[in-house]
Amino acid sequence: MSAYGRVTWRDQLIGMFFAMPFIIGVAVLLVVPLALSFYYSFCHYTMLTPPIWVGLKNYVRLLSDHAFMRSLLNTCFFSVISVPLALGWSLLLALLLNVPNRLRNVYRTIVFLPSLLPLVATAVIWRWMLSPVHGPINFLLQFPCHWVGTMLAAVAPLFHAAPSTIHSLRHLKPPLWLEDGKWAMTTIILLSLWGVGQTVIIFLAGLDEIPEELYESAALDGATGLRRLWHVTLPMLSPVIFFNLVIGIIGSWQIFDLPYVMTQGGPGRATLFYSMYLFEAGFQQLRMGAACAMAWVQLIIILILTAIAFRSAKKWVHYR
């Protein structure tokens, strides 16, 4: 810097020189691959032979690709259900963990612990836990299922239930979690709630930031617990909720490891998610051009959803 505080060309060059590792890193590892993947999305490309320009064919073919459509619908469904569910669940946990208690830190640690476990290890353990024959969950569920089924079967004739319904109620069994196509998606959604520890921590940090005076003045105005939650906590926490919502949307569209380890997309294609099919197309079927097209479609979907979230934020997010 010159004696008068003005930045000279020499200063700028020196600054650029020191920033070069970062600039080169971003260019080589991010910008170039992004540009290449955009180009490849218009090519037939197997990674082993030179790309052949096919124009929009990769994008057009996606529309008639049943596996792609299924993975898109599955991911959409997962995102729509799991994001609000995870937000609600983690907010509830954060509110409970914010209640002053002697063991509060222990509870917080317990809630956060599952997030520290590698996802693959978690998936393997849950596979065993949910095994219909050897798993402890179905072992514990079989008795309540039997009682509830018997009770319902007893009252079912009063409602003119069909004999087949009465028969199936009498033999009510716990679900075949991952083996049944109707249950597999629900199971994956429920398991995705297992790792909400980080979201809970962010909510807890947000809750700590809410000034105590607001609660005091709300109490003076006669606001009870629920009203304080609705009129003070949630509005003050809305920037944190918004942050977790955006991160949740992006994460839900990128889900891969949990279903990959637990179901490999099955039964049938019941749990085939977008990123799994993208991986399959690119690295197993060597259709890297199609995989690049899918990656760009995914990016556009995530961008649109994030833009919608940002637009809606004007109405419900309150920044101090």
Binding site: L48, V54, H66, P132, L176, G181, G266, R269, F283
Partner: protein
């Protein structure tokens, strides 16, 4: 004063750390980077990297052959890297320009390798009379030399057979020495062998097409379907034979109860364990390959002598007229660093005595047509003669070198799972045929374009 002392303390501390470190660097112990764990000094040798996926006894058998090679000469050293899924990894490494020198493959992705010029032709090995097509069954040679050019060498071949549990046969009142020859007999025997518990759950299944479920895309073969026509290059997926096969396949959940069957299947143990359903008596008959004999000897010695092996039944009742064959293969990836050295290694591996050694240790048949008497004498697989005979069976079908083969099999398996879950067999397989035909058209079109651009 205090500052002066502090300076000295930090100098002494720094010296206490740096001096021993420098001493260790100069005089300390160092690994001999030239001496490998097997005791061989590789200084001056070309190191050939070999990626393969076997584990346990199969990996040990391959390791023994590699050791034989490493000790047989002093110019090349083969370094084995065991990994899961070496095929995908080697494809990516070829794309990245840093592949291994030798890769273990199997036949399903061969078409992808061919179309993408991913392997080095092994024609020098034919010229030097290391291999000769007349030494191998036709289907093995077609796997190694699709379109007439030798790209791979056969390592350990595999055909399927019916394994049946004689104890369970006797318990069900069946002749334990008379396995089924037709699918109809298989169904009838399976019905007698299936046992239900008091609660209605399945306790023992006579047969399950999903156990182990590795050939769910190929059931049509045992019903007379030719999955791929090499003359027309057409995949036959919705032929009457294929439809009949999958009607039979879909009949199992109907017969046994879909949910009941799912519950039973979810409790079956791992393949390579004592809880393997065939080994622990949960499934009485199973389709398996010759390697299974070694797994039985390892995990359930009580079953030795109490099970039999026979050609898998067919719909029309002529055994050996239909089977699925496959083979582990060795190839040299394009852009491998040591192609000539890798050829020498492969020339050693493919020597009859080494191939027989490897297959004997893995309980598999030899890919060679002629087998030495020692191979049978030394082999601990009591059924090795049957499996060796099966190698030349007339009805063996195998993976064609089609670039879409992996996708075809995936679609077949998916279609099978759909009909298993109650969808219409005809509609499902007609849809699969439609998809496969489209992929073939697309592939054909792309190949034509690639040809055009390379001509330019």
């Amino acid at each position: 004063m205090a500052g002066h002392v502090g300076k000295w303390v930090s100098r002494i501390t720094a010296a206490a750390i740096i001096l021993p470190a420098v001493y260790l660097l100069i005089f300390g112990p160092r690994p001999n980077s030239y001496r490998r764990a097997d005791g061989i000094n590789i200084r001056g040798r070309i190191v050939v990297s070999f990626w393969e996926s076997w584990t346990g006894f199969e990996a040990r058998a391959m390791g023994d052959v590699v050791n034989r090679f490493n000790h047989s000469q002093s110019k090349i050293y083969v370094h084995v890297v065991e990994m899961s899924n070496p095929i995908t990894k080697s494809l990516i490494s070829i794309a990245g320009g840093d592949p291994p020198d030798i890769v273990a493959l199997w036949s399903q992705p061969m078409g992808q390798f061919m179309t993408n010029d991913a392997l080095v032709p092994l024609t020098p090995l034919i010229r030097e009379h290391v291999v000769n097509r007349r030494d191998f069954p036709g289907w093995i040679w077609r796997l190694c030399a699709p379109h007439g050019i030798l790209y791979t060498l056969p390592a350990t071949p595999e055909t399927n057979a019916l394994f049946w549990n004689k104890i369970l046969f006797a318990r069900a009142g069946l002749n334990p020495n008379k396995p089924p020859r037709t699918i109809r007999q298989l169904d009838a025997m399976a019905a007698r062998l299936t046992v239900f518990g008091r609660d209605g759950r399945i306790k023992q299944a006579g047969f399950l097409p999903n156990e182990p479920g590795w050939w769910n895309g190929q059931w049509g073969i045992w019903f007379g379907n030719q999955l791929y026509n090499p003359k027309t290059h057409h995949f036959n997926i919705d032929t009457p034979q294929s439809i009949a096969a999958y009607r039979w396949y879909a009949s199992w959940p109907k017969k046994l109860g879909r949910n009941r069957l799912k519950l039973f299947e979810s409790g079956l143990g791992q393949f390579a364990s004592a809880n393997n359903p065939f080994m622990d008596g949960k499934v009485a008959m199973e389709m398996q390959g010759s390697y299974f004999v070694q797994f039985i000897q390892r995990y359930n010695k009580n079953l030795i002598g109490h099970y039999g092996v026979a050609p898998f039944p067919t719909a029309h009742g002529s055994p050996r007229s239909a089977n699925w064959g496959d083979c582990d293969l060795w190839g040299i990836p394009r852009a491998a660093r040591h192609v000539r050295a890798a050829m020498k290694v492969l020339a050693f591996f493919i020597q009859r005595k080494n191939i027989e050694f490897l297959n004997e240790k893995q309980f598999k048949a030899s890919p060679y047509l002629k087998v030495s008497p020692e191979f049978f004498k030394k082999n601990k697989n009591p059924f090795i003669r049957e499996f060796q005979k099966e190698m030349t069976a007339p009805g063996i079908q195998t993976n064609p070198a089609s670039p879409i083969m992996s996708r075809v099999i995936s679609e077949m398996v998916l279609s099978a799972s759909r009909v298993w879950n109650g969808q219409s067999v005809t509609a499902t397989f007609r849809h699969a045929q439609h998809l496969v035909d489209r992929w073939q058209r697309e592939e054909h079109e792309l190949n034509a374009r690639a040809q055009k651009s390379s001509d330019r």
